[in-house]
Symmetry: C2
Subunit: 116 residues, 2 copies
Amino acid sequence: MKVDVCKTQQIHPEILSKVMSTLLIDEEYEAMSMIFKMLSDPTRLKILSALFVSEMCVCDLQEVLEVSQSAISHQLSNLKQTRLVKSRKSGKNVFYSLNDNHIAQIFKQTLEHVRE
Amino acid sequence: MKVDVCKTQQIHPEILSKVMSTLLIDEEYEAMSMIFKMLSDPTRLKILSALFVSEMCVCDLQEVLEVSQSAISHQLSNLKQTRLVKSRKSGKNVFYSLNDNHIAQIFKQTLEHVRE
DNA sequence: ACCTCATATGAATATCTGTTCATATATTAA
DNA sequence: TTAATATATGAACAGATATTCATATGAGGT
């Protein structure tokens, strides 16, 4: 049985120590991956990019996206739980809006990349 | 059976048209979500943040991360297929490095957000 | 040629994710 | 109160994903 361990160990000690010293703590990687996960679905991306323009109620979002009301509600729930959006009630409607300044920048930067 | 369609339609026509005109094409959302998906896993994030510092061979990466060689190889393969990293062979080693300038910026921006 | 080390890869598996369907809740109008 | 609209939500299901395990490939060293 082959053991899954690098035998040589530390082929490049200088690089290793340099890299080790710049690594983040696990909690930071977890937190970042959570945000990226929220951005990794086209439906949620569309919702967010709509909200960049204006706050919107679910019904309006339904007109803009081509997705069922239920699917939109579920995704809004995800976005809210991770604090990317917030909501306010007004009569029968619930209006959602961005809860995060950084997201638009991250979005923009990635769009630039994609368009290259 | 309840039909999943908003009856009122266009509660806020001004907002709707404004939002519609700024929406991207589906291919762009797909492409962006692909990139974010690559950033949405802690193992891949660690790999990328190590590569920000220096190119590295798989064996070195294994020292830095606490993940099996196989898992690292699989993830490097994913990162390579989506063009986030590139590789070069040197003897028994394969060195991986970043293939994308934007990624570091996106990473940095998200880290700032997380640390707020 | 043989052995060893570094890396890759296919299959299997467990977990996670997004959508749908059905239904619940809540607000307003009649 | 009853009906209708807007939104939320739980369960079920299909598809995606990350890891592991076993093994394959490939390059050097002896």
